[in-house]
Symmetry: C2
Subunit: 298 residues, 2 copies
């Protein structure tokens, strides 16, 4: 299967490298010349527009920031829709609004083009390792044909339903992650302000019902004051905004997600939009006038 890939950012570039490593023929398209050159050196060929790229391949993968960028690249002038052949497939691996996925799919299907929404979790490290988790929405038959391609980039590939279901699942994931970070933040700031070493609290509770992947990934970063991304607050805001839009569309109010989203907005105003989402704790620290730290070395 000849693959086209659009969106050579911090996720897209390593994903392309893993596709090439697995032996796939790859055509790429980007406005960033340095990214293009890198991938051409690694064995890809280049197309000048999404339209030209789509005309050459059986499967177009897009990996872009949000719904408007995906719509522009697929449905806009010189976009994928203008070039793609009937019977070809578009797999959008961006994290966007489920409704946008469904709208794009509806436009594609009119020209006989199939669509999967296939957002990922795991971030840049797992994109490099080729161990992403892919949550896929779309027809079973189209999913089956694309599984080997996804597997070149991922450790886990799960079909969760029809088009849009992949992004609903990703939004559910992002809701849990945001609230679990907030939970850890409130607990650690409470303990620290009450005079207990947060490091000891972490060690005492991590093995019980309070334990989580977020706790083990983020508590050490909070204690070490390491807020480099990771996953930027501004991107998590984008995901929570999509979650809230969807929740309002379908009628499933998310009061706690809305509260965490506003807290993240406050951090963005404070200049922390480019910090890792573990910097959420800084909101609670500011309110409590305290900062977590490691106990002095003994």
């Amino acid at each position: 299967m000849k693959i086209g890939f659009i969106g050579l950012g911090i996720m897209g570039k390593p994903m392309c490298r893993n596709l090439l490593k697995a032996g796939h023929q790859l055509v790429v398209c980007s406005r960033t010349k340095s990214s293009l050159d890198e991938l051409i050196a690694a064995g890809a060929t280049a197309a000048s527009t999404p339209r030209e790229l789509a005309a050459e391949v059986d499967l177009v993968i897009t990996m872009l920031p949000n719904s408007p960028e995906v719509k522009e690249v697929i449905l806009g002038p010189n976009g994928v829709l203008e070039g793609a052949r009937p019977g070809s497939i578009v797999a959008d691996m961006s994290s966007i609004a489920p409704l946008a996925s469904q709208q794009i799919a509806a436009s594609l299907v009119e020209k006989g083009i199939e669509m999967l929404d296939a957002p990922v979790s795991g971030g840049q490290p797992k994109a490099i390792e080729g161990t992403l988790s892919v949550m896929v929405g779309g027809k079973q038959e189209i999913f089956d044909r694309c599984v080997p391609v996804f597997q070149a980039m991922a450790a886990s590939v799960v079909r969760v339903g029809d088009v849009g279901a992949g992004n609903v699942t990703k939004l559910a994931n992002q809701v849990v992650v945001a609230l679990n970070i907030a939970a850890l933040s409130e607990a650690m700031v409470l303990a620290a302000k009450a005079g207990v070493e947060p490091e000891l609290v972490y060690q005492a509770i991590r093995g019980g019902l309070a334990g989580s992947t977020v706790m083990d990934a983020k508590a050490p970063l909070m204690l070490d004051r390491k807020f480099d991304p990771g996953f930027r607050i501004s991107l998590h805001i984008k995901d929570l905004a999509n979650a809230l839009d969807t929740s309002h569309d379908v009628g499933a109010p998310l009061p706690l997600t809305a509260a965490v989203m506003e807290i993240m907005q406050g951090l963005k105003v404070d200049g922390l939009g480019d910090s890792d989402h573990s910097a959420l704790i800084r909101y609670f620290e500011k309110q409590a006038k305290i900062e977590l730290k490691r106990p002095p070395a003994r």
Copy 2:
């Protein structure tokens, strides 16, 4: 070390059995004759009041519902303080307000009695197995003397600081658990209302950053509509009320904990106070007019 145990409830009784199994001499005291008889049959002896019990033993353990009950049993008429010998130890394993622990310790120390606050997590199943987690506040030397006793009931025994620190840690634990259940609830209700099978969402996200002990323990219960306790909402309300009291005392606002506490209060009004805390999802389900369910068998 001769041990006295007060509070033979669903936690206390199995904890006593594990102390007897480990070969400790045990004196118990309870107003519930059936519990007394059971433990006497298992090898304990009985005292008629906390005062008499305290006079006979080196270590008094209390396992009671909340701060007022612990104060009554230790400081009240015919209480532990009236009977305990100087040099003896009181270990309160109840989950109460850290400030109450400190007040009780101050009264005990005047009579030369040492105090540990040593709340547990793990619930009835781990109390029966003898695999509780104990979070201990108090002097290092007193802690060291009691560790073998705690180990008869626990898989993990951690000293987290001075008196009160055990309960601060327990409150931090309960804050995380409550918010992680709320996170799971919002995510699952969003996905279900948006038309995606919550079972598939759970399977797709549990291995990534959204994974947690709460998710693996509670998502299956939510899908199976099994809301038997477990850990009662009314008890979790008690813990969150103590967390908020403490947070207000020390100056560490917990807006999300407060929101979850109010949601739990709403469920109590709806008659769900005795349900497992995983029934938190029923608040979000009610708002979204939907109920989670397993996919039909294929």
